[in-house]
C-alpha cells in the first residue's frame, strides 16, 4: 500500500487515484490475464443499461492523430446479467468498482441507479455524455434542465452509494453543467467524455464509422480536458475525476494541478495495458522525489 497515493473520494477509500475509464476496460475481467487488477485504484466498467444493448453496426473504431474515434454505441449485457455474470468475479479483486450506467429515458436511468445502489459496488458513475447513441446519453448532458432532472431523480432513489456524474465536453459552457449536477445532488463530477468527431475514408467516400460520427479520445483531447477540469474546479465544490488523454504520470499531475481529485485512464489501456500500473509506480516515485506526502495536496494547485 502506497500511503502517498491513498485517496478518499466521496467516502470511498481508494488505494490510489488511478481508475480505468469506462468503455476502455470492458468489465475489468478482460484485462485480468494481462495486468494485476489488484494494483488499480478502481475500475469503471462499461456503461450499463437496464436491458442488454447490442451497440452500433461495425465499423466502430478508427484511429486519428494522437487519438481515436469510437462509436461502440454502449453495447453491454444489461444490469441484470452484469450483476449475475460479471460482478461476482470482479469482486474477487482488491480494487474499487465503479459502475458507469445510462438509460434511454429518465425512467431507465432511475431504475438502473436504484438496482445498482443495492448491489455490492463502490460507486455509480452516471453517463450523460455518450455521443454515440440516438436516445438518451448526450441529450441529458447537453441540456442543463435535463441534467438536473436525471441527477436529482437518481439521487432520490440512491440510498447507499455515492454518485459521480460524467459530463460531456460538447457544450458551450461546462461550468453550467457542473453547477447543475452539484445542485441536483451529485457527489462528484467526472470529466471529460469524448468530443464528437468524424472521419471520412476518401477512397470509399464513406465515414469510417457506420454511426457517421464518434467520440474522440486520447492525447489529442487532453488540452480540452485540462481546461474543463480547471473551469469546473473554480466553479464547484464536489470533487472532480479528471479524464482525457492520460498517458503517463506527468499527465496525472497536470490533471491534479488543474483540479482533479482522482483520474481515469482510457485510451492508454489500448496503447499498452500496463500503463495504469506504470503510472502508479511513477507517481509514487514522483511524490517521493518532490516531498509530497499525499497526492491530494496537488488538487487545484496550479499557480495563476
Amino acid at each position: 500500500m502506497i500511503e502517498s497515493l491513498k485517496i478518499n473520494l466521496c467516502g470511498v477509500e481508494f488505494k490510489n487515484p488511478i481508475i480505468t475509464a469506462s468503455g476502455t476496460f470492458g468489465y475489468g475481467l478482460e484485462y485480468a490475464n494481462h495486468i494485476d487488477l489488484n494494483k488499480l485504484g478502481g475500475i469503471s466498467v462499461k456503461g450499463i443499461s437496464l436491458k442488454e444493448v447490442k451497440g452500433n453496426p461495425m465499423p466502430r473504431i478508427m484511429e486519428t492523430s494522437a487519438g481515436m474515434l469510437n462509436a461502440i454505441g454502449l453495447q453491454n449485457v444489461g444490469v441484470e446479467r452484469f450483476i449475475k455474470e460479471k460482478l461476482p468475479a470482479l469482486r474477487k479483486y482488491d480494487t474499487k468498482i465503479i459502475v458507469n450506467f445510462w438509460g434511454k429515458t429518465l425512467e431507465e436511468y432511475i431504475e438502473v441507479a436504484r438496482v445498482l445502489d443495492g448491489e455490492d459496488v463502490d460507486m455509480l458513475e452516471m453517463n450523460i455524455s455518450c455521443p454515440n447513441i440516438k436516445e438518451g446519453g448526450i441529450a441529458f448532458g447537453t441540456d442543463p434542465k435535463m441534467t438536473y432532472e436525471v441527477v436529482y431523480n437518481c439521487k432520490k432513489v440512491m440510498k447507499n452509494k455515492p454518485l459521480i456524474v460524467k459530463l460531456s465536453p460538447n457544450v458551450t459552457n461546462i461550468k453550467v453543467f457542473g453547477k447543475v449536477a452539484e445542485e441536483a445532488g451529485a457527489d462528484a463530477i467526472s470529466a471529460i467524455n469524448t468530443l464528437l468527431g468524424m472521419a471520412i475514408n476518401i477512397n470509399t467516400r464513406k465515414p469510417f464509422l457506420s454511426n457517421i460520427t464518434g467520440g474522440l479520445s486520447g492525447p489529442a483531447i487532453k488540452p480540452v480536458a485540462i481546461r474543463m477540469v480547471y473551469e469546473l474546479y473554480k466553479t464547484i465544490k464536489i470533487p472532480i475525476v479528471g479524464i482525457g488523454g492520460i498517458m503517463n504520470y506527468r499527465d496525472v499531475i497536470e490533471f491534479y494541478l488543474a483540479g482533479a481529485s482522482a483520474v481515469q485512464v482510457g485510451t492508454a489501456n489500448f496503447v499498452d495495458p500496463e500503463i495504469p500500473i506504470k503510472i502508479i509506480d511513477e507517481l509514487d516515485n514522483y511524490l517521493k522525489c518532490n516531498n509530497i506526502r499525499n497526492i491530494s495536496e496537488l488538487t487545484g494547485k496550479v499557480e495563476i
Binding site: G26, Y31, P59, R60, M68, I72, F270
Partner: protein, 264 residues
C-alpha cells in the same frame, strides 16, 4: 512484451518480413493467433497511438524467434518497416483463438495476398501432423506472390493465381480451388473478405469444414473495447455477436454473417 528485432527484411516494395526474438512469446503462440504490435519506437510520441494486429507467421522453438509478414498500407506499417536489426519492439502476448489442427487429412489452404501470413505457421503444423496440403495462393499481381520457396518445404502442391495473370493462372484463386474441392477433407482460409466469403460458400455447398481468419479493425485486442464485433450464427441459427480478438480471429466459415464483416 518486449522483443529484439532479429531481421526486418524487405521482400519487395509492398511486403516486409520481421523476425523478433522473445522466448516467452514463442512458447505460448498458437497457430492462427495474432499479436498487437506497437509500431512506434518511442513511447513519448503519441502518433500513431494504437497498436496494430498481425498474425503469427512463424515460430522457431530453438532460437525463440517468431515472425510477422506484413504489407505496407498506412503509417503503422510504414513505421514498422523502418525498424532496424537489434531495435527493441513492444507487443502483446499471443492473442485470440487458434486454427484446429487436423491429422492425416487432405487439406486446402486458401490465401489471398497478405492473408498468406498465418497460413505459413499453419502449414508447418499440418505437415507435422501428416496432412496432405495444397496451397491456393491468389494475388492482384506478381508482387503479391511471396514466400513460395518457404512454403514449398511444407506443402505438397501450390496453385498460384493472379488477377492480372502476371504469375500463375490468371483469375481468382477460387477458380482452381472449386474444381478440386471434392478432394479435400478440411479447408483453411485467410485473405480479403470477398475471397473468404466465396471460399466459405464453396465449402458449404460441398459439405466441407472451413475455418477462416478475419481481420477486423482492432483497438484493444483483448476483448474490452468492443470495436471488433463480427456476427455469426449459433447452432440454433440465431445471429450472435463475437469479438474478433478473443472469440476469433478464427471462425467457422459456414457460420459467419458476411454482411457484418468490415475489413476488405
Amino acid at each position: 512484451m518486449i522483443g529484439t528485432v532479429v531481421e526486418n527484411i524487405k521482400l519487395n516494395d509492398k511486403y516486409y518480413y520481421m523476425i523478433i526474438n522473445n522466448k516467452d512469446f514463442v512458447e505460448n503462440a498458437k497457430v492462427g493467433q495474432f499479436l498487437m504490435v506497437q509500431s512506434k519506437e518511442y513511447d513519448y510520441i503519441n502518433d500513431p497511438i494504437l497498436r496494430r494486429p498481425f498474425g503469427v507467421c512463424d515460430v522457431d522453438y530453438d532460437s525463440g524467434d517468431f515472425s510477422i509478414l506484413y504489407m505496407i498500407v498506412g503509417k503503422g506499417t510504414m513505421l514498422l518497416s523502418t525498424f532496424k536489426k537489434g531495435s527493441k519492439i513492444e507487443f502483446s502476448s499471443p492473442l485470440g483463438n487458434s486454427f484446429t489442427i487436423q491429422n492425416e487429412k487432405n487439406v486446402a489452404l486458401v490465401g489471398g495476398g497478405i492473408g498468406i501470413a498465418p497460413l505459413y505457421f499453419l502449414a508447418k503444423k499440418l505437415k507435422n501432423n501428416n496432412c496432405k496440403i495444397t496451397l491456393y495462393f491468389g494475388g492482384q499481381s506478381e508482387t503479391d506472390i511471396i514466400f513460395l520457396d518457404k512454403f514449398e518445404k511444407f506443402v505438397d502442391e501450390i496453385v498460384v493465381t493472379t488477377n492480372d495473370g502476371s504469375k500463375g493462372l490468371k483469375g481468382l484463386v477460387t477458380e482452381p480451388f472449386i474444381k478440386n474441392i471434392d478432394y479435400y477433407d478440411y479447408v483453411y482460409s485467410c485473405g480479403p473478405k470477398k475471397m473468404l466469403e466465396a471460399v466459405s460458400k464453396i465449402c458449404i455447398n460441398s459439405g466441407k469444414a472451413v475455418e477462416v481468419s478475419l481481420d477486423e479493425r482492432m483497438a484493444c485486442g483483448l476483448g474490452a473495447c468492443l470495436g471488433c464485433i463480427v456476427y455469426v450464427r449459433d447452432n440454433d441459427g440465431n445471429e450472435i455477436q463475437k469479438r474478433c480478438c478473443v472469440e476469433g480471429p478464427i471462425f467457422d466459415g459456414s457460420k459467419v454473417i458476411w454482411e457484418s464483416v468490415c475489413r476488405g
